[in-house]
Amino acid sequence: MTEFKPTILAFCCNWCSYAGADLAGVSRLQMPTNVHVVRVMCSASVKPEYVMKAISQGIDGVLVLGCHIGDCHYMTGNHRTAKRIPVVQKILKDVGIDEKRVRLDWVSAAEGEKFQKVITEFVDEVAKLGPNPLREVAF
């Protein structure tokens, strides 16, 4: 049997995390390749509905990356994200999906290495959890 490779969706904010991902790329840091990066203008523009949709359609893990608290380009965007994503995790827990499948983290534009670390850790963690149980479910 081949090794399970999770499919990960990463929402990166344009001002910090996406630049951080860029830095990780140009620094040639090695990291798992099964991450699809979606660039958004701010982590607060990631509607929790998008996360819910991704999970319910069989994505194995969703990563939301934003600027550090206090560094948001739009002043308070990431404060809002910090309020919303925990609710998503709790709702997933309540229906029986592991809350570790959704993760919120802060990566600044200078933290290429942290980006690598976050991605590697998250992919390992989701690989341990196994495939998303909703992938096989037909509604």
């Binding site: 929790p48 359609q57 309020k83 925990p86 709790k90 709702i91 029986g96 479910v137």
Partner: protein, 245 residues
Amino acid sequence: MREEHGNVAPVMIAKGEDPGDVRTDVPYQLMTILSNLYPWMSDGKKIAVLTRRCDEKALAEIFKRGYFDRARIVQIGLACSKEQIAACRCSDPVPSTVDIGEPHAGVGSDALSEKLMNMSSEERLRFWIYQFRKCNKCFACTANCPVCFCDECVLEERTFVPERGVPPGMSFHLIRAYHLADKCIECGECERSCPAGIPLLTFRKLVAKDFRDMYKFSPGDDKNVSPLLTTLEGEALEGDECNEC
């Protein structure tokens, strides 16, 4: 409420009119009806409405989002009967002022939600998949919900629902659960109106409990001036900001 042709239906009474034989065991959410009536009310006129504790909480959430004018609504407190409390597994059934009826104490726990939280997550997921599979996406839970007052429903957006299609998979319920997280008042109307018999109230109670643990906030709380998830602490809702989410 008045009984007509064997059904209990809401009645509107103008000033000086004889109310006749009315009933006070309200079987549905009056705020849903009021939300439909409100735009048709002529300017400056007031309306009095029977409010149980859940109606009161729904009103608080509606006021927070600026849909109704506080000065135009007169509340008449109505205490729920024991049967109603048992049906809703309601823990907070007594309105702030009781004008009609006798107050009864609430029920502390919900048997099904406790049973679910003692299950392993696989079992719980199997349970909810079984339940949500029964859903035929009739939108009855949305249509009858007292706190579903957005002009454009998030569940009808093209991003989440294909054109002329039904919402796919579990996303309907997950998105709805998130969307109601900071305003669901646990009235149980979704469960009562669901033709498939999905225990939606139990799901709402599970989410509400987590929400209380995280933010020390339960919807219907008047102290909080603005919707919890869309605005930051102490921030009032501005005119140009989206007041629907």
